[in-house]
Symmetry: C2
Subunit: 361 residues, 2 copies
Amino acid sequence: METQFYMPVRVIEGQGCVRAHAGLFADFGRRALIVTGKSSRGNGSLADAEDALRANGQSFAVFDDIPQNPTVECVRKGGEAARKFGAEFVVAIGGGSPMDAAKAIALLARQPGHALFSEEIGPDVLPMVHIPTTAGTGSEVTPYSILTRDDIETKQSISAPSLFPKLAFLDSRYTLHLPQEITVNTAVDAISHAAEGMLSVKAGEASDALAVRALSLLLSEYENLLSGMYSEESRRNLLCGAALAGMVIANTGTSPVHSMGYSLTYHCGIPHGRANGLLLPAFLKRCLQKDERRTRRVFDALGMDADAFARKMEALLGERERFPQETLRAWAEKTAKNKKNCAILFTEQELFEILSASVGK
Amino acid sequence: METQFYMPVRVIEGQGCVRAHAGLFADFGRRALIVTGKSSRGNGSLADAEDALRANGQSFAVFDDIPQNPTVECVRKGGEAARKFGAEFVVAIGGGSPMDAAKAIALLARQPGHALFSEEIGPDVLPMVHIPTTAGTGSEVTPYSILTRDDIETKQSISAPSLFPKLAFLDSRYTLHLPQEITVNTAVDAISHAAEGMLSVKAGEASDALAVRALSLLLSEYENLLSGMYSEESRRNLLCGAALAGMVIANTGTSPVHSMGYSLTYHCGIPHGRANGLLLPAFLKRCLQKDERRTRRVFDALGMDADAFARKMEALLGERERFPQETLRAWAEKTAKNKKNCAILFTEQELFEILSASVGK
């Protein structure tokens, strides 16, 4: 048994950290492409980053044409925008979509003809600074970019050490006014990352340590997630929990929960975090049957048993979406084909049963 | 409150990992200076590294003239050896002394006139691969090099991001036959790192997560540390616990325990880990009086209260060295002068009282 741990992102956490460390942007070049969604204008994050760049005399252009689940087409446009502007680095601001898109854009800016899914990525990628404005994806500390592929009707990730951002700024003030639905869905995504990471063949002492802490931080906010009332401390706990969970999956990868979830998102528009949350309780229950010792550690970290966790997620997610059996069969088949990191192996039939128990009609 | 987390070392852990990943050495250049102590010849580590380098067609020279607590003189000689050989990278194999010396040698190889303690270090340092053969220092994952300064009669550290090794291989087989005294002293050093890190002004969610896990791994071996009987699993727990604790202090720094300990080591030859262990219980007890909430978290992670911890360390360390009051006054004075990372501040008198309670005649 061998494990690896690699987390080369410098993470700075605290209120006002972008402005306080404006000088750090200067290390990456004279011209930045800012990749962001629309909401970064409202939460202060974009203004902080722009002011930091201006303070250093750096030029920047803003590329904010990022859909909810970024497509190959959108990142190719972004790569083109980066080249036209002569960007020497990328500043990603937003939730998972802009942060993931930014990674592919940073790649395509340097390697415009890159095939994305069927080609080694190598080191030639623009350096990146990530500023999350949601607390879920953990993209600011992972080497993954999850893109929507219409050709094979799912989401698929690209990954390389060069896709790790150089620097991540965590300022929970940017998340203070996130809508309740996004807050819950992204928190559930982070919970899923930490739990899935603990079940990975790649899990090691460091990733487990971070996963346990991530679950403790995230679950400590459960009552607030239910009520929709968040203090500044709550927002910080959620943002830090999500970043720790991101450090986990950066090393462990995810599990069939994410693979199955991609189908729910691609075909039915269920938000990514919610999709994982709908599937996670039944998945963990099945894991417990198949490998009690390993799975027990996850429930220990969650601080509850399988039934309690299922009830809590039920209360948080509300009424479930339901799909016919033949749809679930197709999703199970697609998931069974994917390479997994999960230490517990599932047959297509078992995946179908998890889907049925979670979102079956 | 702002925190940072930065841990850019790729850590690979597992039996046989050096040979399994021999190819990774090829990234760093054609000529390596191996910096090591004498015992790496007996535990298999040097042979594994040499074979890995040979397999890549890389040349190497061995510099093994490293005393127990490396001096400025020794690292200057090492830097000269690296330059003479035309080393493009450094492979450090051993305990804290060779690993720390290797960092200063990697610096001096590129910047021969560097003043060490009174000059910025900058990025121009040879890349390093570290292979620990003791489980304590954590040097394989820190940016610190602790050197003995005869001019000011203590140990002092140099530190820079460029002093982080690029790669660390953790193979607990190299620690299987460590003498009992070294095993205990190094384990106690690692316990001290994790505990001190949790009390640092720089402690954050990630460092705390790693500290809690480190303490859990290290304390799970307490009975074996007492009996001197170690399984392979024990050795792995100690090595992983020490590495996690190293990741902690890489981000948090240490506390007055280390500062005071340096005097015990410099003046009286008490091994570094033992010196920390002699001081830690009284230090933590005093911390508890001054900041109960913060210190309680450390005892929670240790899984015991202050008295139980003091008894356990007593049993592990055996009869204490004792020093006259005037000696302790001088050490307290020296410690009070040093800049600290500890969130709990101590007066010179309080430091004297901790020293008195720990090693007073």
